[in-house]
């Protein structure tokens, strides 16, 4: 049975009087330990879909099941408890960290919420362990986010999302706001965690190159719908849809073209 099962997700927003169908009838599955990439340009609905998977947004229709439970039915304390198993990494690293909280407090918050039996010393150890795992010095738990670089901030975000050993992480454009050289480092880190912790990823991105590097399967979104999906290789080497082909053609490689 797949770890994540999204069925018929739809969401409509009301933007200054107009109805915008951000997501229309989107369905997909993600197996345990698998990475599904959701690719699309701005307005494709990919971020909205990602948030509906975690029930951060209420779908207008459709369901999401994670690890057998219907997340879309949960609310209140039950939903909050379920969040131990499914977390999110955000696009803008600095914005996603509370500027007034030290790194250690930010990372240990999931432990306070979901493993209340741990005492402060045990939490501290877990925080230091995960800091090491994401490639940061243990002392960084005393720092404030503003003192760190973008790449380091994103590592904190990843640490926070991984500390409870969830089965499923939604990554919303995790490297788009970072410098090129840092992007590669973060992708490598994500790969390492993926295998070490047997994680399933929903990797949301607008960049096809990145996606080819990280995903097992790809779903291409355009104006709220999935227009193509398949294994990474098949989407890249044998795209069926016009839009996918346009997207592939527009992606700029770094092989110099003679002019």
């Amino acid at each position: 049975m797949p770890l994540v099962e999204a069925t018929g997700l739809s969401k409509t927003f009301n933007v200054s009087g107009r109805e915008v169908h951000a997501v229309s009838d989107v369905s997909f599955t993600i197996g345990r330990g698998e990475t599904l990439a959701l690719v699309g340009e701005s307005g494709s609905g990919k971020s909205t879909t990602g948030r509906m998977c975690l029930h951060l947004l209420e779908p207008d229709s459709g369901t999401v099941a994670v690890d057998g439970r219907h997340v879309s039915d949960l609310s209140g304390a039950e939903l909050r408890a379920a969040r131990r198993n499914m977390t999110m990494v955000f696009q803008e690293p600095y914005q996603s960290l509370n500027p007034k909280m030290r790194v250690g407090s930010t990372i240990e918050e999931p432990l306070i919420l979901h493993e209340p039996d741990l005492d402060a010393a045990e939490r501290r150890e877990r925080v230091e362990d995960i800091l090491e795992r994401v490639g940061l010095p243990r002392e960084y738990r005393l720092r404030f986010p503003g003192e760190l670089s973008g790449g380091q901030q994103q590592r904190i975000g990843i640490a926070r999302a991984a500390i409870t050993n969830p089965a499923f992480i939604v990554l919303d454009e995790p490297t788009s706001s970072l410098d090129l050289s840092v992007q590669a480092q973060i992708l490598r880190l994500l790969r390492k965690l993926h295998s070490d912790l047997d994680l399933a990823y929903l990797f949301i991105s607008h960049d096809l190159h990145t996606v080819r590097f990280v995903s097992d399967r790809i779903a291409v979104m355009h104006q709220g719908r999935i227009v193509e999906h398949g294994t990474t290789e098949s989407v890249f080497t044998d795209p069926e849809e016009m839009y996918t082909k346009t997207l592939l053609g527009a992606a700029l490689g770094i092989t110099p073209r003679p002019r």
């Binding site: 975690l54 939903l79 131990r84 955000f90 803008e92 914005q95 960290l97 509370n98 909280m101 918050e109």
Partner: protein, 272 residues
């Protein structure tokens, strides 16, 4: 420590404001005064400023200088306690009002009605109704300033709620109460501090106005407002010093607090 000194060095206004405030408070609490502020000396009434009486004396023979300094203790502490009261009530209510539900709308609507009254009139009314003592002055100051804090906190909290780190906290499973306590409140506190100093500055003026009309601080306890009032009768006959010096003291205290507020505001502006 060096971060604090750099901070202060870059903002001379803030440093000066703090210094003046500390000096005033310190002097009024600890400094030995040349004369007992509540002792009259019938032999030297209405004396103009001289070496003996730096600010002169008033009708009853009180030394104006000593009383001006001592009045700081009363006026400033009333202002501060009143401000704290309005913070203690206003900030939590403001946070609650920032949550989206029926109650918050009703609360804000009630607030509109309350704020429709001119604040000074309201303060006078409250004190007149409840009795003329210091405690009620503090309560009055507290009540009339609560709406200000509520609105400010609510507006800022609404903005903070839209931020990505609040969404992150929710995504981790934090309860709404925890989000308010751990994420919204700490990020709203900067603005609250600025507002507090401004409110205290305003409160000094209100207290002076109240004691000017005879409400609040009663003689012989010195208060800037009552001193100004007692001096008004003598201005026409040329004894200007009785009102002017306490008046200057009010201006100075308010200026100092405003400078502190500016400095704090610039400080938080930077870190945002």
């Amino acid at each position: 420590m060096s971060a604090v000194t750099t901070f202060l060095r870059n903002r001379p206004g803030l440093g000066l404001g703090l210094l003046i405030l500390v000096v005033i408070l310190g002097a009024s609490t600890f400094a030995p005064l040349p004369y007992d502020p509540v002792a009259t000396d019938v032999s030297s009434t209405l004396k103009s400023p001289s070496w003996e009486h730096v600010f002169g004396t008033d009708r009853s023979g009180f030394d104006v200088f000593s009383r001006t300094i001592r009045a700081a203790r009363v006026d400033l502490s009333l202002a501060v306690v009143g401000t704290l009261l309005s913070m203690v009530i206003g900030v939590p209510l403001g946070l609650l009002a920032s949550t989206k539900n029926r109650w918050s709308d009703r609360l804000m609507r009630g607030l509109d009605t309350f704020q429709a009254f001119p604040l000074l009139v309201l303060a006078i009314a409250i004190v007149s109704l409840t009795g003329n003592n210091l405690k009620n002055v503090v309560v009055a100051i507290g009540l009339i300033n609560t709406p200000r804090f509520m609105r400010l906190v609510r507006a800022d909290a609404l903005a903070v709620r839209e931020s990505r780190y609040v969404e992150a906290a929710i995504s981790l499973g934090a309860s709404p109460a925890r989000v308010l306590r751990r994420h919204v409140l700490p990020n709203v506190s900067g603005i609250v501090l600025v507002q507090a100093t401004l409110t205290a500055a305003n409160a000094i003026v209100v207290i002076a106005a109240l004691s000017f009309v005879g409400i609040g601080v009663t003689p012989p306890t010195p208060s800037w407002g009552s001193m100004i009032r007692s001096g008004t009768q003598n201005i026409a006959s040329g004894s200007w010093w009785i009102s002017i010096f306490p008046g200057l003291a009010v201006v100075l205290a308010v200026w100092a607090l405003n400078k502190i507020a500016d400095g704090v505001q610039a400080g938080i502006g930077r870190s945002r």
